[in-house]
Point group: C2
Chain length 198, copies 2
């Protein structure tokens, strides 16, 4: 028996199909929306639609933005000779929050994953190589330190090295504030290998 109504059930299923939203969260969300003023709900729905329709890739770094050139690529204050390669726009935002990185980015929109059938041609690598024909001094590879991220980093590094551009990789190690006993062995070894002089 359909305890609510077919329409509410449809809404719960729709919300539950989104990532990170399970059946219980979908129910809570749906009932929250049903108890909100109709105009507010319409405003939320419109924001979702409008944002999706206004969104496109920055023509330089391929981050998601609503302009031809994203605010970072368009900024004269940034160092356009240093490019940080990230897997997606969320990773870009994570580095932006540090407020200390002054270069620009290149968003791959994925990482090489033979398991998932994602090859070098499926991420924005051609576009990266094209950008490297300009006057670039350093390429910082900031893909995740997962298997896919490391594979992608290795691949890009091999591809770019012959051009003579300096290629670096962000450090792996113990997170700041991390408790050694809670950290996995691979990270501990990485931290040891990457030790620096004091």
């Amino acid at each position: 028996m359909d305890a609510y109504s077919s329409q509410i059930t449809k809404l719960i299923e729709t919300l539950g199909s989104l990532p990170g939203i399970g059946t219980k969260s979908a129910q809570r969300l749906a009932f929250h929306l049903m108890n909100m003023p109709s105009e507010k709900v319409a405003a939320i729905a419109d924001t979702i639609k409008e944002t999706r329709n206004s969104i496109r890739f920055c023509k330089s770094c391929f981050t998601l933005t609503d302009r031809e050139l994203c605010p970072i690529c368009a900024s004269e204050k940034r160092d356009h000779k240093t490019i940080m390669v990230v897997e997606n726009t969320r990773d870009l935002a994570a580095y932006e929050r540090t407020g200390k990185y002054e270069g620009v980015y290149h968003v791959l929109h994925g990482a090489i994953s033979p398991m998932l059938g994602i090859g070098p041609a499926d991420i924005r690598l051609t576009e990266l190589m094209h950008r490297l024909q300009q006057d670039i001094t350093e390429l910082i590879i900031a893909t995740n330190s997962s298997l896919e991220g490391e594979t992608t980093a290795m691949y890009i590094s091999k591809l770019v090295k012959p051009t003579g551009i300096k290629v670096t990789r962000i450090a792996s190690g113990v997170p700041v504030g991390g408790d050694l006993e809670c950290i996995d062995e691979v990270t501990l070894l990485r931290a040891l290998e990457g030790r620096i002089d004091l």
Copy 2:
């Protein structure tokens, strides 16, 4: 600096204002939506709007539904002489999932909470008393076993008892599969008080 674009930031803020969705989840959701086909995103937004616009209260039990009378109140198979009082439609759905309750419901849309300034007049109590003028044999109070739920249960019980209708309360106790050592003292005492003969 606005790392994404003002439009995406607006979407993240909008999604993050919903219950159970923090900033990180809102970001993940927003980027998931931005990577979905535009028509699918529009369909999700439309489902949200349409559901909110089609929704109303069942004129008998006050659950949220898209009809004048909800499927449960409209069903001839249900026992309309037994009413279960619940705080909201989600609690109704929880009992519906058991598949064993054959009576109908009454949804209060809240619980009495002096702390939050919610009094008896703010929940659907007048409507419940009105329904009890019909031929009702049992009123099962299934409000939560929180302070508010218990207060509401006591209040309804005192209100209804003079009418001669049988008033019952769902049992409190140790959840099935629950590990005694993980359960709080109040629940353990309730389980002891409510012990049954074997």
